[in-house]
């Protein structure tokens, strides 16, 4: 039964993807994957966690159908590995899920065939298939039948005509090999496996920080002093910086956009680096026994203050970026800065929580990787090309029309709509018309596997 399901899935895989671009096929593949996984891992699907990750995976699959972009395809792939990894072991960190998912996808079948029984040190019993015999019973009769067909063709005119009518042109060896790849892929994933010792070590590794045997009060006093002086100085510095920064923003509300451009370009990279360094310094200061030192209240308060000031710094960058977007329009780079700022705030808040609740560095890595994953999934659900075009035409003070034209086809229909409503230069109008014509042609030529949401708007 299992092999029949895998065979059907393989045929579907080749039908969906052979010489086809991405569209409805990836959405159907996501559903197919979930069905295969559900059939073989029913118990694992009873947890809310598994259902949640399945929903995320299917969500990204549907998003590919609505707006086919590289980001959405990447998110779908990451969600695929995460779901498989989660089914293999649901107590591990998300990055171990990725590792398990990746390994299962590449070599799950092979691993299962060599699954080691620890107690007996033997390979788990498998029914031996006599491949040689199987080859014999297929190849030898086939060769003999072909020889006899040749002989009978010469003996009977009607039989010869009948044989000549058989047309094998529909048979495509590449298609069959692609189906073979599909069979291999589904054989790998139908029962997820784990990578050892990474999985067991990750489970054993908790989130809490423990007091070490090297706990020494005189040494900690020195560390505490160093921490207080360092973080206090950094606090003073950041306060001065923030005062000048806020003054600049408030006194230059009607400033020329080019000044903001220069501010943002020269400043944001440095500020981004400063936030990363801030987190590294805090992790260094609170790396060990200082967390358990009774006199660490001051250094902790200073650290919290510094984190809050860094959050203010992030907000000030966000304001600058917002103004930059308002003056120059929305672009992928500017959205990237906003996403970075969201991740930076998360990093700062989790660092604050790590210090407050005495957690280890793995807690930070686990939580922040998870946040990064969710940010990727959520951002993949948005049709950015459409949103960029919509914002720039309706809200931005100025915009770069060639940039909008060079975006993917996801904004083509909106561009055409805007062309009908606004007056654009002849060159831009011609490029938009050209883009629209090519896109319409592409949509019309799409096979059902390549369908997108825009196909239904035709």
């Amino acid at each position: 039964m299992k092999k029949v399901i895998l065979f059907i899935a393989a045929v579907l895989f080749s039908t969906l993807f052979y010489e086809k671009s991405i569209g409805l096929n990836l959405c159907i593949f996501s559903v197919l994957t979930v069905i295969i996984l559900f059939i073989n891992n029913k118990n694992d699907f009873k947890t809310k966690d598994a259902i949640f990750y399945t929903a995320l995976y299917l969500g990204t699959g549907i998003a590919v159908f609505f707006h086919d972009s590289s980001l959405t395809i990447m998110a779908n792939l990451v969600a695929f590995f995460t779901l498989i990894g989660r089914l293999s072991q649901n107590k591990t960190s998300i990055y171990v899920n990725w590792l398990n998912g990746l390994y299962t996808t590449i070599a799950g079948w092979f691993h299962r065939n060599f699954a080691i029984n620890e107690t007996t040190q033997s390979v788990e019993p498998k029914t031996d298939i006599d491949y040689l015999h199987l080859a014999k019973i297929i190849i030898i009769p086939s060769i003999i039948v072909i020889i006899f067909i040749g002989l009978y063709q010469n003996g009977n005119q009607l039989f010869s005509e009948l044989i000549n009518k058989i047309d094998f042109s529909f048979f495509n060896i590449q298609w069959v090999l692609f189906a073979g790849l599909g069979y291999y892929l589904f054989s790998n994933i139908y029962q997820p496996v784990i990578v050892e010792p990474a999985t067991s070590e990750d489970i054993a590794l908790g989130n809490s920080l423990l007091k070490t045997s090297k706990f020494s009060i005189p040494k900690l006093k020195k560390e505490n002093q160093l921490g207080i002086i360092l973080i206090a100085m950094l606090n003073v510095l950041i306060v001065i910086f923030l005062i000048t920064d806020v003054t600049f923003i408030l006194t230059n509300l009607d400033i020329r956009a080019s000044v903001f451009s220069e501010q943002v370009h020269s400043g944001i990279n440095a500020l981004i680096a400063s936030i990363v360094v801030a987190i590294i310094i805090l992790l260094y200061v609170f790396r060990g026994d200082l967390n358990f030192h009774k006199e660490n209240a001051i250094v902790k308060r200073l650290a919290f203050t510094w984190i809050l000031l860094n959050i203010l710094l992030v907000l000030s960058i966000a304001v600058k970026n917002g103004q930059y977007i308002y003056y120059f329009g929305l672009t992928y780079k500017r959205i990237g800065v906003l996403i970075y700022l969201i991740l930076a705030i998360t990093g700062l808040v989790t660092t604050l929580n790590k210090i407050n609740t005495i957690k280890n560095i793995w807690y930070l890595i686990r939580l922040n990787t998870k946040v990064a994953f969710f940010v990727l999934i959520i951002s993949s659900l948005v049709n950015w090309d459409y949103q960029i075009t919509h914002y720039n035409f309706n809200y931005a003070k100025s915009m770069d029309v060639p940039y909008l034209i060079e975006l993917s086809d996801n904004n083509t229909l909106l561009l055409k709509e805007q062309l009908d409503q606004n007056e654009l230069s002849a060159e831009h109008a011609s490029r938009i018309e050209n883009k629209y014509y090519n896109y319409m042609l592409e949509l019309e030529n799409n096979s059902w596997q390549e369908w997108q949401y825009d196909n239904f708007k035709l």
Partner: protein, 108 residues
């Protein structure tokens, strides 16, 4: 011409086999803390196969997903799996090829 293509193909597959065989043997030679091939397999096979696949996909992408590249690296993948399988099978044979003395219950 066909003979030339066949010879080139043969040399390519042979060289590939030698390289893959060497890369796997190197793992077993370099791991000195255990003689248990299953332990080596469990610890190093996932890394090996993930790196091999990542490299293959990278090169396939560089070669613009040409069919030749896809088939070649599919063969590399299969060869690697077969060599690992061979290593484990020979080891299994070795650890099961020993005679266990039956309990001599009649002896004092």
């Amino acid at each position: 011409m066909e003979a030339f293509v066949f010879i080139v193909l043969l040399i390519t597959v042979s060289l590939t086999f030698v390289f893959v065989r060497l890369s796997i043997s190197l793992i077993f030679w370099l791991v000195t803390d255990t003689k248990d091939k299953y332990a080596v397999f469990k610890k190093y096979f996932p890394c090996y196969i993930i790196i091999l696949t990542a490299l293959s996909i990278y090169i396939i992408e560089l070669l613009d997903f040409s069919y030749v590249a896809i088939y070649y690296f599919a063969i590399v993948h299969v060869i690697a799996l077969l060599i690992w399988r061979g290593e484990l099978k020979s080891y299994k044979k070795k650890i099961t090829d020993f005679a266990v003395e039956p309990n001599q219950t009649h002896l004092p």
